[in-house]
Subunit: 346 residues, 2 copies
């Protein structure tokens, strides 16, 4: 019922930032014209575009993406949901994703599930509340609600790390079973027969468990019994690797080779072996997965199945961006494969 005062400089809530309306006033056009000049410059005359640009510059206008997001839905935010940041494996992927997204003017919202699919479901709900432009999540296994929601969501989704059947939308990763099989076969080819699988966090990290499964498959295919498994409840670390070495040396019959669920564990074993003077691979061959930067600098360098993690991140972002720009990616499901890097530890 009041109208007279406070009409103009209200600011009772705003943060006093320069808004699109300010730019419009300065440029002598309607707000919508500024919006068009900025977002679809083709639909505005050169002259107006120039005036608007000048006003933007003069006022130091920065768009409020929140308001834009509310109006149009789509905030140029891409949530990236991974199990943990304490695992080096994810860092390079995230780094690559972030670089690519940022170059395209999108921001990465990083969230972690702590390996819990229920938490993941909650996070997906939450981040969808930000009207993101797309979503990147880890793996192909999710809470059923996540799958339903994202499928009917209608915006681009990429699942990374693992590749397989029936992704929610797009998918870039590697085949975990194949990884497990390949390392076991490599060890068998090298002549090792008393092969142990050492795994960390297998109960939580089902992709590591897949590697174990592939490992056992390969042994079975070679007509051998299932290999023994050393399992550690904690996430992989150099310290767990050191413990694993001790446990391996205490086993009877003494194993001649160990496949480790990831390179951190394998590196921990090599580092501990070096400290204790255990000769690698003569006394024990060690193989890892995923190819961390440290692997090649150890003595001997670690034999590992390298996965192109940066590339995985880059491609995941690329797929997302293509879809955001209205294109239809040629191969929305990509198996990046892996490479056996023989370092000398086998």
């Amino acid at each position: 019922m009041d109208r007279q005062e406070g009409r103009s400089r209200k600011r009772h809530r705003g943060q006093g930032r320069v808004t699109l309306a300010d730019v419009a006033r300065q440029a002598g056009v309607a707000p919508i014209t500024v919006s068009r000049a900025l977002n679809t410059p083709g639909r505005v005359s050169e002259a107006v575009k120039a005036r608007v640009d000048a006003a933007v510059e003069a006022l130091g206008y920065v768009p409020n993406l929140i308001a834009g997001g509310l109006a149009a839905a789509g905030t140029r935010v891409i949530p990236v949901i991974v199990p943990s940041l304490a695992i080096l494996t994810f860092i390079e992927v995230i780094d690559a994703i972030q670089k690519r997204l940022e170059a395209a003017g999108y921001q990465m919202l990083l969230a972690t599930t702590d390996w819990d699919l229920d938490r993941e479901a909650g996070l997906v709900d939450t981040v969808l509340g930000y009207s993101p432009s797309g979503v990147i999540l880890t793996g192909l296994r999710h809470h059923p609600r996540v799958i339903t929601r994202l499928k009917e969501w209608g915006r681009p989704v990429v699942e990374i790390m693992e590749v397989g059947e029936d992704p929610i939308d797009m998918n870039v990763g590697v085949d975990g079973l194949a990884l497990g099989r390949a390392m076991a076969r490599h060890l068998l080819d090298k002549g090792y027969r008393r092969i142990v699988f050492a795994g960390s966090h297998l109960g939580h990290d089902y992709r590591a468990a897949q590697r174990l499964e592939g490992h056992q498959q390969a042994l079975a295919e070679a007509g051998l019994p299932q290999g023994p498994v050393l399992e550690y409840a904690e996430p992989a670390s150099y310290a767990v690797g050191a413990r694993a070495l001790a446990d391996l040396l205490a086993m009877t019959p003494r194993p001649d080779a160990v496949a480790c669920s990831n390179d951190i564990l394998a590196s921990g074993i090599l580092l501990a072996a070096s400290k204790q003077g255990i000769r690698i691979p003569d006394e024990l061959a060690v193989g890892g997965y995923l190819g961390l930067p440290l692997a090649e600098h150890l003595s001997p360098p670690l034999t590992t199945l390298a996965v192109a993690r940066s590339d995985m991140g880059r491609q995941a972002a690329e797929l997302l961006l293509q879809r955001l720009e209205g294109m239809t990616p040629a191969e929305p499901v990509r198996d990046l494969g892996f490479t056996l890097v023989e370092g000398g530890s086998t």
Copy 2:
């Protein structure tokens, strides 16, 4: 329970998500009451709260944080701006920040400057467009515009990694000069005199350059001339460490100790030395900074000045959250210090 179609199924732009209005209808209250029941439960009656909760549950309501952000300003997003994710140093900090924020219901928006303060300024502008609840940035040096904007912004800001005079708002970190001095003094105390500083990326990483400065100060205080500096343009890596070892061994007079700008570089030197049979510390003492997990697993373990990075992240998040909850943190500027961890490499 279906209403008359038409009004309920408009969805002409929205994503068809359940909104607060839907919950209000279901619970038989006004939308604002639902808002209050969810955000400030103390201000509504038990009965209403229960009805609202039931409706939320029944409908599967998830708040649209974008809309909330527009209305109230404050999206429960905390941008974290760091130079790079390729540096292990930042990962643990980020991990700790993310864990703490997420536990409090905030999301982390991660952006990288690629060591460029102009890029940082652009990023700050961009992320402020998301009406974040607070901001965390790296270091105390920024583009003047960043400092002005954030100071008048009025929401909590934490600068991390480095501690010093005149932060924008709050500050948690370590004193770079002190780090540099402490390592140099340690090497001097051990009796080394031909001490080299090996640094990576010093032109970009001014905090690493501060450590060099402190290093030279300590030499000067001991009445020694400025030590030689080996400088590498790239970011630190194990490979650069290997090159550094070669360069060190080629110097005349042959140095007896090297302080490395960070632990990656130092580890690279130790790994290469181990490969080449160089005896550490007899032929060359090696010291690092920041205390990466790998350090203690090398042979010999690396002597380093450990910085509590997880703690830094946790405390930064904690300060921010305290302010977001209306409290005034006791110590808004915190020097976390460092610990000399003697590993045997010196």
